[in-house]
Symmetry: D3
Subunit: 137 residues, 6 copies
Amino acid sequence: MSIVSRLLSVADLDDAATADAHCDLMCGVYNPAQARIEAESVLETMKKYNASDDDYFKTRCIIIKEERAQLAKEHLWVLWTDYFKPPHVEQFPQLHDLFWRATKAAGDAKKSNDEADAQKLLDLIDEIAEIFAETKK
Amino acid sequence: MSIVSRLLSVADLDDAATADAHCDLMCGVYNPAQARIEAESVLETMKKYNASDDDYFKTRCIIIKEERAQLAKEHLWVLWTDYFKPPHVEQFPQLHDLFWRATKAAGDAKKSNDEADAQKLLDLIDEIAEIFAETKK
Amino acid sequence: MSIVSRLLSVADLDDAATADAHCDLMCGVYNPAQARIEAESVLETMKKYNASDDDYFKTRCIIIKEERAQLAKEHLWVLWTDYFKPPHVEQFPQLHDLFWRATKAAGDAKKSNDEADAQKLLDLIDEIAEIFAETKK
Amino acid sequence: MSIVSRLLSVADLDDAATADAHCDLMCGVYNPAQARIEAESVLETMKKYNASDDDYFKTRCIIIKEERAQLAKEHLWVLWTDYFKPPHVEQFPQLHDLFWRATKAAGDAKKSNDEADAQKLLDLIDEIAEIFAETKK
Amino acid sequence: MSIVSRLLSVADLDDAATADAHCDLMCGVYNPAQARIEAESVLETMKKYNASDDDYFKTRCIIIKEERAQLAKEHLWVLWTDYFKPPHVEQFPQLHDLFWRATKAAGDAKKSNDEADAQKLLDLIDEIAEIFAETKK
Amino acid sequence: MSIVSRLLSVADLDDAATADAHCDLMCGVYNPAQARIEAESVLETMKKYNASDDDYFKTRCIIIKEERAQLAKEHLWVLWTDYFKPPHVEQFPQLHDLFWRATKAAGDAKKSNDEADAQKLLDLIDEIAEIFAETKK
């Protein structure tokens, strides 16, 4: 699948929104992509940090990574508390622990510049996205 | 294409990130989906507002729509200023005007509960997403 | 144990800070009182809303309650992800579910002006505060 | 009066809320503990900064201390402007100057890693908490 | 003096910045105009609120006025704590009380749609601006 | 023109507000001075950074400059999207490009400590202020 197709498919969420319209939420629009995009930023910022030897640039990387990791954390918290309902937890008993580890991974990605830590966050978000997709079937 | 495939594809942005790694940006991760998701919220909130006759609920809709429209606006501004470069503007001379109309449409979607206003915002974001995808080819 | 006694134990900060100094956290200062104070605001704002028949004042109550309930939610999320560690979850297996219900209760307190909903949020925060106090022993 | 006893009195929320219910404020919930908790974070972060020789960690300390000191400042400003009333100023003529020095101390705690500066902020917050407690009698 | 001259003079703050360069502040740039502009918004929003009989529009006015009055308050707090120094307070003994009344006036302008309340806030900001100008001589 | 006169004239924006009252905006108060003041902070912070050899102080400069440049950017975006109308763009065809370069200059001022970069931002804001003043005639 080409990058373009994927990018276009990202922008074409109409049916997903229709599906959400049946839930009892405020606006009914949730998407793990929000946390995913911020976590991508965390990984890319780590790469830039590790590839640079300019102190000024590296300090800016730390400031920005701190913000993006925080945003990833916040998008995950909202998804956990607001989107998922008791029947989901029955169907996916690992849900609480998965979100706990994912938000902790976002915290760990603040503390380190080990790209494996950012990758772990991305992997956990992908696990969440798979469960999210299951609940949309 | 099923909802699930689309949702999964949203979460699978790895190649896009690789492509971005060649640019000179801070973290190199941009995605029109961020504005798109907020604009979806704006539309859904309008629908809830229009379908309700509970004053308390309707006031909450206004508060929340104000926030989501603002976030759509901010994601668009960042994309316009930070992602696009002079060669893009040469190739897509409508770019500035398109972003101006899109961010104004986000403002209009605060002022109204006409679902057509939210749809106009979504359509303009889709136009931007198509240009964005072209620049990724 | 009365609410007052429990609140007093929540705020016994001095020793808590000393204890935290041994942990691996950034600053090591956590306190359920932060969520508690915001949740108190939610309850008081509901009371003011329910006692008033001034539309302008009532709209301000909704705006402010929305903010305070959000802050209560955020303080709870931080406590859950950042303070508690795997051994705590082993010792208190209800922890994840308790935080999930508490943050959902903060969301419910946005949706309603039923003072029982704010009281439920306060009760869940008190349950969390008791566990927190246990972990400090 | 020991720090611990003073903190306990600060947090005696239940009666305070009852007392506040008679005032003309929006939600009537104020508590110097909010500024106190952030100022504790400032002190603990300074300690971590001073004990570390890891440049990356130290930069994160600076970022986080900047935020927590700002929050301490904001909680103090709200207390000064919103909680205290003209009769309080008559009874405690030092009030304005005390808050001015306390918020300046929060600013100084951004500028330095001298733990005495954070302790000075904590001491001034405790002075404010004592006056606050007096107004609740 | 024409509007244009005044607008241009607003933008021509270079000498003021030079004057500030002698102080010991972080960046040395302070200007009561920041609070003034937000307070103007408060007044204009009140006028719009009072002239309208559209409930939806009026609710948006309340949301926006709440934000602008808060910003006016915050700009005033920063000016009070960060710009003014002990010798200023000696020279202008009314300073603390003036700021206290100004920030309380910003709070009052949230609570009311009486344009006199917004005007009172503007007048107090102008008093502060005059003292500020005196300190620049 | 003395500093004092300029400072006073900053605070005397009443007629400007009257002029704005004829537009169809929410509160009708816009002023390029908001972006100007933040951009001044950016320049002054760079000067302090360049004059210092204290690592701790320099890190704080970076954090603060990041914030002020972001605020300059946001004030410019709001002015572009919310104040200017299609007839303005017809009269000033350079408007979109000018704002694009100005917001990019704010981004560049985050990336560098070259005072010329901050000066460039200030110059572009002054160009915008002149056009703004023209539209007020």
